[in-house]
Symmetry: D2
Subunit: 336 residues, 4 copies
């Protein structure tokens, strides 16, 4: 099969021929890729920054995978050959306390498809039955592949604070990229806040307006203005630089919550301000299988849309370059 | 009446004779002081740091007040002369959205007895009916005065995260002083975590052990050890220096929550660590009237004890000095 | 002023001239009526069934009131003459534990405008400042009057179980009348369930479809069918007869919740079935001031619409007859 | 091996020799029984009432099992031969949506050890790895076997409403038997209510007092009295007859919740009363694996005790007779 392999850091992926992976566990499932989303995390992996997440070389990248079941181990009970499926990227054991609570991403035996094990920039990917979600009728794999990570991350972050998004409150979405453009829709669907989108890029601001943001501004200052100086009750930060960390904390209203999804900088807050304003800061990591299941139901019901552009797997390095340059609006998907 | 007045920053309080305050609103209540707790915030006020909280000079300090109703306006319906009462320190309007949600401390017309208006280091204090809680039968004012702020702050912080203190989890109480020694008991009463107390002072560690801490250690390193390297699911920080902020973040387990009550330093956390570990940081400010009501029920039921030492109001400056030097274990109460 | 008075049970209301009510408390507010909604509870009052709610005769009915401040007592701080306001019907003291928790409708000193005290089928109504909500700019009193009870009741019931309305779940709205047609929209706004509306009346089913129900059926049997036999995760019953109680319990899925708003019959469930299916049954009573505040924000943001028909106050008896005969679709509003 | 088999309804169990069960799935585990609790459900099974739960004949009863791992399939990763374990009675697949939410007892492929498959009134029981919990060091199997169902059921019911058991509230435990005597302790540990125990049996009332009930009464009337007519905020009913259903509903305070665990009768409540009082009725079924895990941590920490009496497996029919006659205080455990 074809596969795009990261063989050396800071180098383009290599398109190679490889044997199709073989089932080894009774619960293994082989998935023929219908589409694989391209994520900023792939850029970080190429830059050598994802070793803490278990990357070793060589590695087939690709963690936003969807396709069809091509083969299944004898112990597999819930999917059959030909089923259209979405691949939940974390591997989880199902037996530890974290798994039993539904927090698969905190599994003590955690792996991550496309980072610690081979992913879906290929014709096939091998995963465990626990990683699969059957697609509702009428949903095409390539159309939902980016939900596996971008959508999941957005859903998890928004769901966790949706009870704060009461009518009369204000929520800010900082960064309307691959994850942010889904989150913006989810804030509307799961909450009742007035939604302000912030992005420095004009195309993304236009996308935000199309997706239903109540207001769209180009900088943090715009938020204070738009809220009459009161600030926002919830700020979702999908960027994660020193600058956005400082801006986000500064634009919070009394009692507000700062939801951190993008990362890279350092959050520095005087504890006096945190206490006097009763602010909260909440980190978010991927999401649970149930998060992805619920997101998929929303997608199938037509309540959210995914902005994608489709490219052949062969163009993987061009697509990565485009993403790096901020030239992807929404999410790019590779099709083998 | 006697009153201890802050007339100039960085100077001892002056004990003066003053007229008893007069009722001016129909809902005003005059309370004869039975006891007034002494708090580190009083030290901050003397140092000139509490102007953001509304302090102007001269000011009678004292925000942990309990006593008996001495007089009440014509509009007062819920207390009568002679009733033993505890004074909830925030003044709240009862009409704004924050008040209607029960969050009196975020009232848009907020005042604070003993900071922005005169307090209880005196024979009498004037408050609004909304600030009062009737004491259950058998509860003496001087015995519960410190609950008005120390207890309330502890209760509010612990209650907000009590749902995380599930059996099998670990909670750390950092600083077993006036607020911390109540919080330690509340973590046990409202939650089911294993409780580790951390204090650098030997007398406070002894107090922690007496109050039921499962483990007592003298430094942050002790927590990692006591948890087999796993860290704590909840850390309550009643100290609030750069050092305790860094220590607290470092001792959190995956998915853990850092509850900030003490303040002074800066919290600095790389967002990458916050996200990968799904940590949360939560600021806490005083508490609601209902928090104080519930705390009082626990006290009356004998489920928590308050460690107090009683001094005459005339000794206020000596007591403040003792507090400043870390020589008060539990809470000091002034009696006029 | 004009007023429609219930002087004798089972008799039409009498339209009489009366003195405009006078302010007696410092927090009293006189409201000139812009519109007053007509509710099935008014029919119950006329039938003599509302004495448990405090009705004594003679009484001016009308508990869904909106208008403009005409006069205000000296202690009133949050509204001024001319302000457009909606009247929250429960009077609450603001001082008891229930009020401090925000549960105004459980106030120990509870009254109810239009039942235990005179209401708004008149030119003016006298209420307390605590009962008022200022209308957002651009919102006309007559257009939102029915929110004061119909909308409030719908919001309260839906909000309490909205966390159960996750994507992939099913919610049933049984009875698409004055309250139900608002609830149907709120289930969509506050939740993410597939929404099935049930009504025996063809006009109401059409209204349900217009308001966005995913499916509309004419009987309980239709629900089992529409869910493939699985049943509904949440059933909101706005009718409340022996029949709808039995139907609702029978159409619940495993783990489902039966939310009871309409009443009149007896709920009879074998405890074995309740336990094996982990069903819950939840009664709902009006709502809190904050519920009404949040609902009003949704209305102002255009997220819900109110289906009303406007009549002159003089037509009150004709409108009551029409309501009694099931000939009102949405809500009727009287304008003086 | 020895086994006590239900071969015919309404007949004593037969003690027979049987082959030790053999592993057939890679995740199967053979457990050597250390103790098996005896439950009223065993009586129901003998009376032929548990066919809806999957009972077919012949069946080895016993669903409260603990012991040591005797053998394990090749796919078992989390326990090893010799480990002391508690057996969670529901079998769950781990893959359906209910399982992924942690609600194992609603698994679509649900089985129940000792009812739909053979149980632990025997020398050995065969279960799936997903059904096991390793015992903390120092905990003996026979000492905790009844937690597998009695304790689990109590924990699940109490945990679900523990957020309502705020200081100042009142909780009633109706029936201080095998499940109730654990629940009583859990109400104290997980909540802060005043706890009133109700039992008609003098020995059970004495047990309730020993286990820390604040008040102990012998009838429903006693509750109204003990609460000054106000009623209880939470009523846990571990009996479940027409009589206790009526009594429980009648003793609820405004806003109160009726938690149903025992069953048998019919709950009949006029919806008018349910609505006006905002009552809730909640059915409870066994519990989740995580519930049992958390309970076990509480047990290991010494926060709850289990009142047991130990008998040899050979005495199974005598023990069942004793249970039937109400002569067991706490829980009986059979040891092979």
């Amino acid at each position: 099969m074809k596969a795009a392999v990261l063989r050396e850091y800071h180098r383009p992926l290599e398109l190679v021929e490889r044997p199709v992976p073989e089932l080894s566990q009774p619960t293994d499932v082989l998935v023929r890729i219908g589409g694989a989303g391209v994520c900023a995390t792939d850029l970080h992996a190429i830059e050598g920054l994802m070793e803490p997440a278990g990357v070793t070389l060589p590695r087939v990248l690709g963690h936003e995978n969807a396709g069809w079941v091509a083969d299944a181990g004898v112990g597999v009970a819930t999917v059959a050959k030909g089923d259209a499926v979405l691949v939940y990227p974390p591997y989880s054991c199902g037996l530890c306390v974290a798994c039993r609570r539904g927090n698969d991403m905190h599994c003590v035996r955690h792996e991550f498809t496309g980072l610690s094990v081979d992913g879906g920039f290929a014709d096939y990917v091998l995963v465990s039955e626990r990683s699969l979600l059957k697609l509702p009728a009428g949903v095409e794999p390539a159309a939902v592949a980016p939900h596996a990570d971008a959508g999941l991350t957005a859903y998890h972050a928004v769901r966790r604070v949706a009870h704060l998004a009461v009518p009369g409150s204000t929520a800010v979405v900082l960064g309307v990229g691959g994850v942010g453009h889904i989150a913006l829709q989810l804030v509307r669907e799961l909450g009742s806040s007035t939604v302000i989108a912030v992005d420095t890029d004009e195309r993304r601001r236009r996308l935000a307006a199309e997706l239903g943001a109540d207001e769209v501004v180009d900088s943090a200052d715009g938020v204070r203005e738009a809220t009459g100086g009161r600030g926002a009750d919830i700020v979702f930060d999908f960027v994660g630089t020193d600058r956005t960390h400082a801006d986000s904390a500064a634009m919070l209203a009394r009692g507000g919550t700062y939801s951190v999804i993008g990362y890279g900088g350092t959050i520095a807050i005087p504890s006096g301000a945190l206490v006097v304003n009763e602010h909260a800061v909440v980190g978010n990591l991927v999401g649970t299988w149930v998060d992805l299941y619920e997101l998929l139901q929303l997608h199938a019901a037509g309540k959210i849309t995914l902005r994608t552009e489709v490219h052949p797997l062969e163009a993987v390095n061009e697509v990565l370059a485009k993403l790096h340059d901020g030239e992807v609006t929404g999410r790019a998907v590779l099709v083998p």
